[in-house]
């Protein structure tokens, strides 16, 4: 079978892009290989680890469980775009001060997921934060510092 391709047009981090892609290429391979946006990571490539999390049409999704062709017409935001807008600058700063990352491989995916939790902030318990982050694996930190960072950011935002 030959490689089937399709032209897609989508908005990535605020910029309209048109490309022809292999229909079997998933969204994160497209972002990394074709667009050079290497902030989105591939860990397991079957939807378990969460390192590939990106925002599509306002919602966090597994970038490895969506085909690039399915993003035709969509608005995609990666960690690069999210960082640039400053939406999670407070979270990122607290991640650094609290040492909520070691190797950093899971961090972009973590931040993409936490961004959704912080978007409409309401009080969440530590158990609630852990449940919310249950789809993102970290193999270094033991999660404690990550939960600390989320809790602190959430409290700061709720205090306004």
């Amino acid at each position: 079978m030959s490689e089937e391709t399709l032209a897609i047009t989508l908005n990535i981090n605020g910029e309209d892009v048109t490309r022809t892609v292999a229909v079997r290429q998933h969204l994160v391979d497209f972002l990394r290989i074709e667009m050079g946006l290497t902030g989105s990571h591939l860990g397991c490539e079957h939807g378990i680890c969460g390192a590939c999390s990106v925002r599509v049409d306002g919602q966090v999704v597994r970038g490895c469980l969506m085909l690039a062709v399915q993003a035709d017409g969509a608005e995609v935001v990666t960690i690069e775009g999210l960082t640039e807008t400053g939406e999670i600058a407070d979270l990122q700063e607290i991640f650094v001060t609290r040492n909520a990352l070691q190797c950093g491989y899971c961090t972009p995916g973590m931040l993409m997921t936490i961004a959704e939790l912080l978007r409409d902030p309401e009080p969440v318990s530590r158990d609630g934060i852990r449940a919310y982050l249950s789809g993102n694996y970290c193999r270094c930190t033991g999660y404690h510092a990550i939960v600390d960072a989320v809790e602190t950011t959430l409290k700061n935002r709720l205090r306004g």
Partner: protein, 289 residues
């Protein structure tokens, strides 16, 4: 790994989808949320000739209620179901189960219909649908037919849906006033596949169970209605003696699968634990109602 080569069609309407299904049969796969299909493609556990992407079929979207029946379109995302006022009001069992369905990023994309069509033995929605007496609407080139949940789940990933049929919607009678529902599951980690789980809809009078519909999942090849256990507890006070009867009867209802998550004996034990917790909770909730 990377998915194998396949053809891809972004379907514009249901007729086109059905024509493609009819043409390709089992060599075609419907791509809905993709949260189970994409992993099998990336791991090359499946190698379909063609993917039919139904994500733009508006006719399969939405959640509504009419004349006491809730309609959940096949493409309703788990996150949409979880946030739906209609579901919270009329199908609290599903609202209670939804936080157990995988993780936020998967719920944003995965669909109710996809979960029913795949019939993963550890999935929450098939068990809820069976407990609530749902009806599934299947459409083929020859027309539509309705299949009761009791007749739909046939075995491990095996359903009454034919290869040329598309699941278009699920119809579920609203939970009646006076009935109490409870959903519980045990997983190794929040959002992981269930090792054992129960979906229970009961009518309670004080500490007496008027009747209860108990569906077990996770341990079994398919969501399983526990008819022996239901008969053993119906009309009785939820006493220690009744609990012993339920534990004995459950061994006749379940045939747990041994796998990496545990032995058959351990899973039967877990289901017994959940049975007690579920009916205890039902009695407490009935008292509060």
């Amino acid at each position: 790994m990377k998915a194998p080569k396949f053809s891809y069609v972004r379907a514009d309407n249901i007729d086109q989808t059905l024509a493609l299904l009819s043409e390709h049969g089992e060599d075609a796969r419907i791509l809905a949320g993709g949260q189970s299909l994409m992993p099998t493609l990336n791991m090359r556990l499946s190698q379909p000739e063609i993917l039919i992407d139904i994500n733009r079929l508006d006719a399969l979207k939405g959640i509504s209620v009419k004349d006491g029946i809730v309609r959940i379109g096949a493409l309703a995302r788990h996150a949409e179901v979880a946030g739906s006022d209609i579901i919270a009001e009329h199908l609290p069992l599903i609202a209670e189960a939804m936080p157990h369905v995988a993780h936020v990023a998967v719920r944003n994309r995965g669909t109710f219909g996809g979960s029913i069509a795949l019939a993963d033995p550890a999935a929450e929605m098939p068990a809820c649908a069976l407990a609530l007496g749902a009806t599934f609407v299947l459409q083929g080139t020859a027309g539509r037919r309705e299949v009761a949940a009791d007749d739909y789940f046939l075995g491990l990933y095996e359903t009454a849906r034919k290869p040329d049929e598309l699941l278009v919607e699920t119809l579920i009678p609203a939970e009646r006033g006076g009935s109490i529902s409870v959903f519980l599951e045990l997983a190794q980690r929040h959002g992981d596949f269930a090792m054992a789980g129960i979906a229970c809809v009961a009518r309670i009078d004080g500490d007496r169970i008027i009747d209860a519909r108990l569906v077990y999942f996770g341990s079994e090849a398919k969501p399983t209605l526990a008819s022996n256990t239901i008969a053993a507890i119906g009309g009785k006070a939820w006493s220690e003696a009744t609990q012993d009867d339920a534990n004995a009867a459950l061994a006749g209802d379940l045939d747990p699968m041994t796998n990496l998550q545990g032995s058959a004996a351990m899973k039967l034990h877990l289901q017994r634990v959940l049975t007690k917790r579920a009916l205890d909770a039902a009695i407490v909730r009935a008292r509060a109602a």
